[in-house]
């Protein structure tokens, strides 16, 4: 597969990843799916406040990319951030406790769904401002370059964010300075209610890479191996001093933009159904079965374990105290 600007990668060939790695990818995607289903249900039950953006349908992107990263690498996320957290190795109980607004949450109840971060694992935070994280993670790329230890920084952002200034400013600066960056556009074809087709001059965000002289590649975001391989190439290039790449993952969110009641969703039901037919999880499951790397018993056991882990996360959240009101004034400034 070529890395030429605007290249479009073919369907992924049979992967040479070891079966344990493939099963781990499946486990992570399933964890995201089941976590999101629970978050959605608990949101509708009034246990989670404000707003939740579900990642269901897009799991192949976060897991495909993060499986190409090491613990020293850093990522930044968006308002739709639970999947990136889980794929980078965040702790489910502390995530759930944050959604529940509890003291034990990742942000001590100050962030909520749109602001989960875990700096200790290189997850520099979900960000509630569209394109707001791109400059920050580009700074992490600069930090990695200056540290000189081969670290890489990955920016996850939506198709909507690719139309905002910071995207262009940062691609230019990262290309000029050969920063060890991977820019991953999750093109789920919509920014809130607005179709990308109505707001993008070109159908492929990856085509914009040419304007910055960096590789740009369109991949099927629902094919986890295609995502993983593209990420792998981009990460290798970044690590070896070759500079940034842009990967556009075509994908789709199954649920409405947010979990809010009465959230408008103008998408055609037929389109939604068609994309559900391209489920990244079912696809990997199928592939693993074909390779005899997974059977019913293994899958059921995996699902049981994940369900138990999510139950435990919810139990932890529910048993955790709310913050004390006066803690509202803590942590405005660092010591």
């Amino acid at each position: 597969m070529s890395l030429s600007p605007q290249g479009r990668s073919a369907a992924s060939p049979a992967t040479n990843l070891p079966p344990e790695t493939q099963r781990e990818m499946l486990r992570q995607m399933l964890t995201i799916r089941l976590f999101e289903e629970r978050a959605s249900a608990d949101y509708r039950a009034g246990k989670i406040y404000g707003v939740v953006h579900c990642y269901i349908g897009e799991e192949g992107v976060a897991v495909g990319v993060c499986s190409a990263l090491g613990p020293q690498d850093r990522i930044i996320s968006t308002h739709r951030g639970h999947g990136h957290c889980i794929a980078k190795g965040a702790d489910l109980p502390r995530m759930m406790a944050e959604l529940y607004g509890r003291q034990t949450g990742y942000c001590k109840g100050k962030g909520g769904s749109m602001h989960i971060a875990d700096f200790s694992i290189g997850m520099l935070g979900a960000n509630g401002i569209v394109a707001g994280g791109i400059p920050i993670v580009t700074g992490a790329g600069l930090a990695a370059q200056m540290e000189g230890k081969g670290g890489v920084a990955v920016s996850f952002f939506g198709d909507g964010a690719s139309n905002a200034g910071p995207f262009h400013e940062c691609l230019n600066i990262a290309a000029s300075w050969k920063l060890p960056m991977v820019y991953v556009c999750e093109n789920n074809l919509y920014a809130a209610q607005t179709a990308a087709a109505a707001t993008h001059a070109l159908p492929d965000v990856a085509a914009r890479a040419a304007g910055y002289g960096i590789p740009g590649e369109v991949v099927d975001g629902n094919d986890i191996f295609a995502v993983h391989q593209a990420a792998h190439r981009a990460v290798d290039r970044a690590r070896s001093g070759g500079g940034p790449s842009l990967i556009e993952c075509k994908t789709y969110r199954w649920r409405a933009h947010t979990e809010r009641k009465g959230q408008p969703d103008y998408r055609e039901q037929a389109e939604i159904e068609a994309w559900k037919g391209r489920d990244p999880i079912a696809r990997l499951e199928r592939q693993l079965r074909e390779e005899s790397a997974l059977d019913d018993a293994e899958l059921q056991s995996m699902e049981r374990q994940i369900t138990a882990a999510i139950e435990a996360a919810v139990a932890f959240a529910e048993a955790s105290p709310f913050p004390l009101p006066e803690q509202a004034t803590d942590d405005v400034f660092a010591a």
């Binding site: 990742y106 942000c107 602001h115 400059p135 580009t138 400034f333 660092a334």
Partner: protein, 324 residues
């Protein structure tokens, strides 16, 4: 003691800190020549004119253990980076529950008088004072700017150094030895007993000139320079007002929801200070207009020693003292 300009003192502060700590690096669209000569292009980086990117990159690098300095140059240029300043830098430590530190110095020139019109003359610090999570200061002397910049670089939070374009070439004594000035500590630039003038930057010097003139008439003016805007040294301001009973606030920004309004509130919402006020608080500020170009217009917009003088005379005329 040797003398440095305000600008030289600021650069010397940066250079000394950079020698001390290899984690410090500098982002600006136009590197400062002596810094570039000494530290090279790896640490003194010339960025594209992309303030949003450079500001956010400073935040990201800070979160990864570096101590970046982001120099916006004219404060008006940082308005294109408002998201990174207000939504990101100010909130990121709090929003993530204090799990990471963001030691970051922003530098920005403020004030007017340069005949460069509205998009290159502004004193918008109160816009930033209004945002929780940012510390900031505005020095009036070479000595102060050096000590404050050093403190800001060592602080583990985003700190904005607002620097007066009118004072860049002002000379003053700066010791050779290492010293710092804490944030949140005002400086009494002149002691007096009849009226307190709280002033910032260039207007500190104008207030001192006004005080000198009034001294000839036997009027004793105390001039306080808060230096640090956030945190603000309310104690020193209140103690002075309790002593003099009269308060004039001089600021090159407009009055509306401004620094001057904050100082007036600091004085009047404290019962003990309020009880000692003998006259209404007087603000001497810029007119509420974008800064115009023509010298005739620009001079008319800004307060100066004459207006400070008039303000002082006004508070001396008013209130019980006048009745007595």
């Amino acid at each position: 003691m040797r003398e440095l300009t305000y600008d030289e003192a600021a650069v010397e502060a940066v250079a000394e800190e950079m020698r001390r700590d290899p984690k410090i690096f500098y982002l600006s669209t136009d590197p400062i020549p002596p810094l570039l000569r000494e530290f090279g292009p790896e640490r003194i980086r010339a960025t594209p004119i992309a303030e949003s990117a450079m500001t956010g990159m400073g935040i990201g690098a800070a979160g990864c253990g570096f101590r970046p300095i982001v120099d916006w140059r004219q404060v008006t240029f940082c308005f294109v980076a408002m998201d990174q300043i207000v939504n990101q830098a100010a909130k990121i430590h709090y929003m993530f529950g204090g799990q990471a530190r963001f030691p970051l110095l922003f530098r920005a020139t403020v004030c007017g008088g340069g005949r460069v019109a509205a998009q290159h003359s502004q004193s918008p610090y109160s816009m930033f004072m209004n945002v929780a999570g940012l510390k900031m200061f505005l020095a009036s002397t070479p000595y102060d700017i050096k000590g404050l910049i050093k403190t800001a670089i060592r602080d583990n939070n985003p700190v904005i150094s607002f620097e007066s374009s009118r004072l860049l070439r002002l000379k003053g004594p700066v010791p050779e030895e290492d010293y710092t000035i804490p944030l949140g500590l005002a400086d009494i630039k002149r002691e007096g007993s009849d009226v307190t003038v709280v002033a910032l930057a260039w207007l500190v010097h104008e207030a001192l000139a006004a005080a000198e003139e009034l001294a000839k008439e036997g009027i004793s003016v105390e001039v306080i320079d808060p230096r640090s805007l956030v945190p603000l040294d309310a104690g020193t301001i209140r103690d002075s007002v309790k002593k003099t009973g009269r308060l004039v606030i001089a600021d090159e920004a407009g009055p509306t929801a401004g620094f001057s309004a904050e100082v007036a509130a600091v004085a009047t919402e404290d019962g003990a200070t309020f009880a000692r006020l003998k006259a209404p608080v007087k603000r001497v500020c810029a007119l509420p207009v974008p800064i115009p170009y023509s010298p005739v217009l620009e001079n008319h917009v800004f307060p100066d020693r004459k207006r400070i003088l008039a303000g002082i005379r006004e508070v001396l005329r008013e209130g019980p003292a006048q009745a007595a």
